[in-house]
Symmetry: C2
Subunit: 175 residues, 2 copies
Amino acid sequence: MIQQASPSAPAAPGMAADLAASRRREADAALAELGHASTAARRAIVEAMIASGRLETPEQLLHDAREKAPATSLATVYRTLERLDAAGRIKRATLASGAVGYGFCGTGHHEHAICLRCGLLQPIRPCLVSDAPDLAGFQVSSHVLDFYGLCARCASEAGATSSGSAEAEGTGRPA
Amino acid sequence: MIQQASPSAPAAPGMAADLAASRRREADAALAELGHASTAARRAIVEAMIASGRLETPEQLLHDAREKAPATSLATVYRTLERLDAAGRIKRATLASGAVGYGFCGTGHHEHAICLRCGLLQPIRPCLVSDAPDLAGFQVSSHVLDFYGLCARCASEAGATSSGSAEAEGTGRPA
DNA sequence: CTGCAAATGCGACTCATTCTCAATACGGAC
DNA sequence: GTCCGTATTGAGAATGAGTCGCATTTGCAG
């Protein structure tokens, strides 16, 4: 239900190889950081998330991951998401289509801009919320600030064709 | 799984009656605003949400609503939540316990402080995010800023008893 | 008071997510 | 490089929140 922009097939020759290599490195780093074993399935899942840069459904992640690790199962996708989430490396959001998408985010606190049409997950650094307001004794331990809307590409596409081509209809309001 | 602070039994005599009356008025206003019929079940559900001022699970809302409208069913709770949500009067969040809670919020855009322990939903007005940052062509249509932590009461209780008394354990990180 | 559209309750249903468990792969020790 | 204990995996069953269909009831305009 969410668009898939970048190819997740084995890297094409040329400069694309650098990108693929850097993805692989980032995926390995993330897995190593978790302190868990680096298995083919986990690597494939994390690389797929990094490569897409979007919020994707578990089904999509499974599909993408299977290009590199064909035996991967949905249960493993969920288990991997769970571990990444525990490490704070996952952004989860419901898109306009109603689908729940999971996206990979880098380390450290930051905000996100989320395209409701294609699921693009755009990090915003540094954090925009420096000081919590006075809340009558409320002890703030964390905050979440997400911007929802249309990414540059989807905005122009939606402008050209009045009816979006993506499945996600737009209420403009995240769930 | 979420604490219930204020009694939802028929209003006690005295000044509590004013509160109950104002809740009833607010509930009626919200329903009228929706342009839908004001039925006993809907009134009971909305009044329960307003009275609690917290994020509550559909099951809890059903339980609370049944004190005023005993025949209410879970399906009606969900249908009412759906209608309120369509009108932007609902805040939905996953608490630390993993339970999904629904809370009633007033009209107009505002932020929220959410107690991860008891589900308290504290509105923050006015909106703190005046201008969206430049996001390379990203068209922001809305944003969500939530503060998570402990309300004044839960903070002091958690401070007194090192192990919280509420069911919701605290990872300190919202889902 | 009447009639009808809207709303309800019930129970069946869907489907995302989690669990179980035997088989397998990982990675440190040798 | 090989071996072994343990973490991980895949498959399918199980769970449970949320939705749907439909006969019945209710709100409310006339």
